[in-house]
Symmetry: C2
Subunit: 418 residues, 2 copies
């Protein structure tokens, strides 16, 4: 169904039930398109009356529209429904170290335009202004009126306090306690939701990706840091203050090297992009026949994880060994997750996930070290959403929040107060 | 509220909502006793109509009864409700290595009688027959008719397939794929539910213990093995095949000693009762002035973790060091859990949890190694339910399942089919 509710409340009441039905209906229309009310009832399992009611609400909010109705014919076919493709827009912003990407999408998550901007500063105000100007520019360029934009979702590589709407700690950005959502809202005059990029990755997989049918899904984001998002059934596992999923800081060797978080031997230390690059730099000292040596030392190019994966894929022995070892460490942490959370799917995102060697190794380690039942049950796959996964997560968050709110527009006050 | 639903279905519909309200109402009556319908509505936040309806159902099933109504007076006080204290009984069975405990309780979880039996075999049939005969004997002894027993809950230290109702793997009992629930049902002619003891511990804490108000609660059971139960909001986190919580088999040193599960350096290897005892035996080689040496070597007593805790509490240096080191390893794993799941409460059960030194060390490690936000948010406490925690978990499981089912009696067929 692709439904994923960020449940901010534990109140199971009839209002909550109506929200759930609304999300279910919208997602089914989005996934199937051109669908009649009775088909909707069959697929969702909701009663005809409930479907009529939720569809009425979605029509009223102009999130969906009727199509294919032909009133002139006898025995006319039932009216079909589809998500309104151009009535409203959503904006996704991904912030990472040294770059941002801004995308404008339709209500079905189709990216109409996107723009990447690079920079060499950690200054919060600089990045904030860059986000604002990039959004402004894209809106102008596409001649999209602000009133037609339902909201902006922002992905950051750090912990976010969902109640205070503050990025409390983003070590790689060197930000602490910045009011990103409020600042963007003020400067852009549009409702803004900010969340952790790995949590958004998990939402993206549930709404749009390979995890649509997963019961328990863990998304592992391998980037400048290593973060996870956990989806249980239809809900993101948030923890009590919204920082669940920081499994990158599970220590897999309590006496191992220091981590930026202050602990020792964290999974991230062995497995994030920096760890993979460090592994490459160490190998280059002795592997002068490697493609990596050629690119990095002889041609003086800036080495990336993409380069390492590419070299491994064309059979470079040094690169293959780097990738294999990285897969081993990823596998150790994933085996811990498999034992602890018994997911049916673990999806890995980031450049390294494009390597088959990595997945062979992760699979091997999980089968070797995981408990039999959870290890047999789990599928370990790379993201199918590529580098769009965080952006799509922003869209999922916006849709999820919009549909949960009975008002026509996104009301971030209610998010704030929860 | 103490509500904890083992949600076997993801179907949020009006029937599900009715179940939730029923559990909510029952728990509130259980916790408050002598409560009127209007007080119930105030406390639960349910409408008067919903309260009337759920109370009617609970009265019909004789789970609650009306008290304190005085029809002779003018302006008579409203009828009060309480859980029917003696109409029905529940049976809890805890199975561990070398012993079982069987308890008969009321619907409010009050233990009327309990009996412990010890043995020195791993033979499944022997243990099964012992459970059957002990239940039979207690029922006869208390003159309780089988018709008045609503069900039997069984706690086992191992993985349970909740759909097939089979203990798939209980390493310390040396059981694999035994149909414990079906076998007990056949021999006792009563409905039986079997679950993992750490998951039941988590349910017990949520229903009856310190975790009643916790949002995200992790129960860590330190016994012959090390298992965890995770409660998120009101639901037990089961994983896709019911084996979630096996965090004892998260590797905290991938190159560490072999574990019985086949992996290496599992948390359990450093932290369960055997690990604590092994630590003591190693220390005894050089600590001839320790109380433990006196008890174990001179008096030839069988050393237990209780002994070690006792010696540490009276200031025995060797015992204190053993306990402190055990706390350090427990703290490493708990810090991982705190980072990964962002719980507001971690409750530790088992003999070692009775030591303050252990908690001082766990707290120190979690504050030192946990990420700031989740580490500040979490309370780390020992169980307040002592060695009754698994039994109380069995009662919680029975009540939870009974209330979720609209039939008068516990129907384990529906559990089987789900």
């Amino acid at each position: 169904m692709g439904v994923c509710l960020v449940t901010k409340t534990s109140k199971f009441d009839s209002a909550y039930l109506r929200r759930v039905n609304c999300v279910k209906t919208f997602c089914t229309i989005r996934e199937h398109g051109w669908i009649s009310r009775s088909e909707l009832a069959d697929i969702t399992g909701l009663s005809r009356a409930t479907v009529s009611e939720t569809v009425r609400e979605l029509l009223e909010r102009e999130f969906v529209r009727e199509v294919g109705s032909d009133n002139t014919q006898r025995g006319r076919p039932p009216v079909k429904l589809e998500v309104n493709p151009t009535r409203f827009y959503l904006i996704a912003v991904e912030i990472d170290v040294g770059w941002i990407v801004v995308a404008i999408t339709t209500l079905v998550g189709e990216i109409l335009v996107q723009r990447r901007e690079e920079f060499r500063t950690h200054d919060y105000d600089f990045v904030l202004n860059l986000c604002v100007s990039t959004v402004d520019r894209l809106l102008r360029q596409q001649s999209i009126h602000r009133d037609d934009v339902l909201g902006i979702g922002v992905a950051v590589p750090g912990q976010v306090d969902l109640n205070r709407r503050v990025v409390t700690f983003a070590p790689n950005l060197r930000w602490r306690d910045v009011s990103l959502a409020d600042d963007l809202e003020r400067d852009l005059n549009l409702p803004v939701l900010v969340s952790n990029e790995a949590m958004l990755g998990a939402m993206a997989e549930k709404w749009f990706g390979r995890g649509r049918d997963a019961g328990v899904l863990v998304y592992v984001s391998v980037k400048g840091g290593l973060g996870c998002g956990i989806v249980n059934d239809r809900s993101l596992f948030l923890g009590v203050s919204g920082s669940a999923g920081e499994l990158g800081h599970m220590s897999i060797d309590p006496k191992g090297p220091e981590c930026s978080c202050g602990s020792r031997g964290c999974w991230e230390v062995y497995s994030d992009e920096q760890a993979i690059l460090d592994r490459a730099f160490r190998a280059l000292r002795t592997s002068k026949d490697s493609l990596l040596f050629q690119w990095c030392i002889v041609e003086n190019r800036r080495l990336t994880v993409d380069d390492i994966v590419h070299a491994a894929n064309v059979g470079d022995q040094t690169a293959m060994e780097i990738v294999r070892e990285s897969g081993w460490y990823l596998g150790i942490g994933i085996a811990n997750i498999v034992n602890g959370l018994n997911p049916d799917m673990v999806i890995v995102g980031g450049c390294i996930a494009a390597s088959e060697i990595v997945f062979d190794e992760i699979n091997r380690v999980v089968q070797e070290r995981g408990l039999q039942i959870p290890a047999e049950k789990v599928s370990l796959v790379p993201t199918g959403l590529g580098d769009k996964v965080a952006l799509m997560g922003c869209i999922a968050l916006l849709l999820d929040t919009l549909l949960e709110q009975p008002e026509g527009r996104l009301n971030t006050d209610s998010v704030r107060e929860n």
